[in-house]
């Protein structure tokens, strides 16, 4: 399994991001990725990044600031509508990693 690290961002950094994180771990595992997640909120991204490397950021609340990490909207993971598209977008970004 390839290891990837994803920052999951929602309003409070707890509830929806935990839901998104568990979904990402399950769905990306089917594509051969071992996913480590950190749950965050728009106000604490800076400190949660903490200078560590993240491959991807999946957000269910808008993040306007740029952090030099690819960003994907993850709302589809909660509703199931457009879920495949979210995963495909993630896979496309992850496939370009070394």
């Amino acid at each position: 399994m390839k290891k990837v690290k994803i920052l999951c961002v929602c309003g409070s950094g707890v509830v929806s991001s935990s839901m998104v994180a568990s979904k990402l771990k399950d769905m990306l595992a089917e594509h051969g990725y071992l996913t480590e997640t950190v749950e965050s909120s728009p106000n604490s991204i800076e400190s949660d990044l903490g200078g560590n490397h993240f491959d991807l950021m999946v957000c269910v609340s808008p993040v306007y600031q740029e952090y030099n990490i690819p960003k994907v909207s993850g709302v589809g993971l909660l509703t199931g509508l457009g879920e495949e598209e979210v995963i495909e977008e993630c896979l496309e970004i992850l496939s370009k990693l070394d």
């Binding site: 509830v15 929806s16 269910v60 808008p62 509703t79 509508l81």
Partner: protein, 151 residues
């Protein structure tokens, strides 16, 4: 551990708008002792900044919540609105949807309550399950359905 209790089920809630809905559902949680007196305003404020409406296949729901400091004991209040009210969609600032079902959450530790959160997500993604919630005829039936899917 089940987070669904009968006292937190309301199959016919009247609300004028999303704020009114949050206040009324929040009051149910407060009256039953699950949340502190700061909870309702915290949820109202949070919903304005980070909306929680979700458009599903056949219906729309909202899952208002707030930080655990406002919560005494974990619980979910499930309410169906007699008349849908407008919520903003999660992740957007101007995508408004008509919400029929409210799953208002009192969360103390998302890691401990992750199973419930995952079950709730499964309901959102399962059209038939979501329709069972919207079609419940009375409190008893909504309670049974909520227990079946979320406990």
């Amino acid at each position: 551990m089940g987070m669904i209790v009968k006292e937190l089920i309301d199959v016919s809630l009247d609300a004028n708008d999303s704020e009114d809905a949050i206040k009324k559902v929040g009051k149910i949680l407060f009256d039953q002792g699950y949340v502190k007196n700061t909870y309702i305003n915290a949820v109202v404020d949070r919903e304005k900044v980070f909306p929680t409406g979700l458009k599903l296949k056949s219906t729309s729901v909202a899952m208002p919540h707030t930080d655990s400091v406002h919560v005494n004991e974990p619980a979910i209040c499930v309410a169906r609105l007699n008349k849908p009210v407008t919520f903003c969609h999660m992740g957007s600032a101007d995508n408004y949807i008509q919400v029929e079902l409210i799953f208002m959450m009192a969360i103390t530790d998302p890691n401990k309550q992750l199973d419930t959160l995952k079950r709730m997500m499964s309901v959102f993604q399962d059209d038939e399950a979501a329709l069972e919630f919207t079609n419940a005829r009375d409190n008893d039936e909504l309670y049974r359905i909520a227990k079946k899917y979320l406990n």
